[in-house]
């Protein structure tokens, strides 16, 4: 379960993480991309935090959509349309909900990952956001089906996300700027997969705090 307060808390915690890991994400991106992922993500979420007071009184779906809209116009790089679409799709999936059940949370994540796949025309195994996101969502589904709490499911999800990040070190990038490097991209972790793993870390921390 997730309340509106927890959704807002997730946005704030994730925004903090993007500011905190700005340099780290940029360094990962400098190795295999255009070196702006941390700068872009922190800029986007800084804008989200600035605009948050204008939409925090709205419903969960409108809040998520507003976050997405802000990201697509402020991030600047490919992560803008990708994360932006994810938040908008997640919002659309929980339309009219005042509180999210575990199934609503799963649906929101599934719609979000579907949106990223649609937008980026990518599949798992191409050294992208998807390589941490898909295993993390699968972990949530497996854990909830096994009767675990959402908090425990998010603990499992974060672990799966970081495993996914590790996996990106072993594969060649075939999407995005890193694909220009071919085999030279091996050995480096994907910045997008990394920033997505922090999203599951943020969700886990919020759930732990709320004690769901």
């Amino acid at each position: 379960m997730a309340t509106k307060a927890e959704v807002l808390d997730f946005i704030r915690v994730y925004a903090d993480k993007m500011a905190e890991h700005r340099q780290e994400l940029t360094d990962f991106d400098q190795a295999i991309g255009d070196g702006d992922h941390g700068i872009n993500m922190s800029r986007g979420f800084k804008a989200v935090m600035e605009k948050l007071p204008t939409f925090e009184e709205k419903n969960i779906d409108d809040i998520l959509k507003a976050v997405g809209m802000t990201l697509v116009s402020t991030v600047g790089g490919a992560s803008g349309p990708l994360y932006g679409t994810a938040f908008m799709k997640a919002g659309a999936a929980v339309k009219g909900k005042v509180e999210l059940s575990d199934q609503d949370v799963i649906l929101a994540f599934e719609e979000a990952v579907g949106g990223i796949q649609f937008r980026g025309k990518a599949v798992q195994g191409e050294k992208t956001i998807l390589d941490s996101m898909i295993p993390a969502i699968n972990a949530i589904k497996t854990s909830i089906t096994a009767g675990k709490s959402m908090t425990d499911a998010l603990v499992d999800a974060e672990a799966a996300a970081w495993d996914g990040v590790e996996y990106t070190k072993t594969i060649i990038a075939t999407k995005g700027r890193a694909s220009y490097l071919g085999e030279r991209s091996i050995g480096h972790q994907d910045p997008g997969a990394t920033s997505m793993a922090y999203a599951f870390q943020a969700a886990k921390e919020v759930a732990l705090k709320a004690g769901n």
Binding site: D36, N40, V72, S73, T74, V75, G76, G77, A78, S79, G80, P81, L82, G84, T85, R119, G120, G176, R177
Partner: protein, 127 residues
């Protein structure tokens, strides 16, 4: 007249391509949608959407892109648009395409004709 929107990560590239094209087709409807609101490097869905609205006279709009997020941001701008004439992203060199497309559009060619000229710009031999 078919409208043209130039989407680059760099505001200067987009504006430069428009400037070059205007030299050959002063009356063409071309919008530069490069960079972020503050002028930094990136692509901005709102800026692209505003560009489409600015050049749409009802005969269609073509979008020329540099790479990566320019494509995704343009796709999002098209999806978010309500009403208006047809809009298409064309895979073609951004500078040459802007010039060829502007000349073609300015002589009153149809949307399909402009799209065809832009597609052929990819195979254009410079020497």
């Amino acid at each position: 007249m078919v409208g043209i929107v130039v989407v680059s990560h760099s505001q200067k590239i987009a504006e430069g391509a428009v400037e070059l094209a205007k030299q050959m087709a002063a009356e063409a409807r071309i919008a530069a949608a490069g960079g972020m609101e503050d002028g930094s490097i990136g692509t901005d869905v709102s800026k692209i959407l505003a560009g489409i609205e600015a050049v749409d006279q009802g005969d269609g709009v073509v979008i020329l892109v540099d790479l990566g997020s320019a494509v995704m941001s343009s796709e999002m701008a098209i999806e978010m648009r309500e009403g208006g004439s047809q809009v298409k992203i064309i895979d073609t060199p951004i500078v040459e395409g802007t010039i060829f497309g502007s000349v073609e559009a300015s002589i009153g060619s149809s949307f399909d004709e402009v799209v065809e000229v832009l597609a052929s710009a990819k195979a254009y031999k410079k020497f």
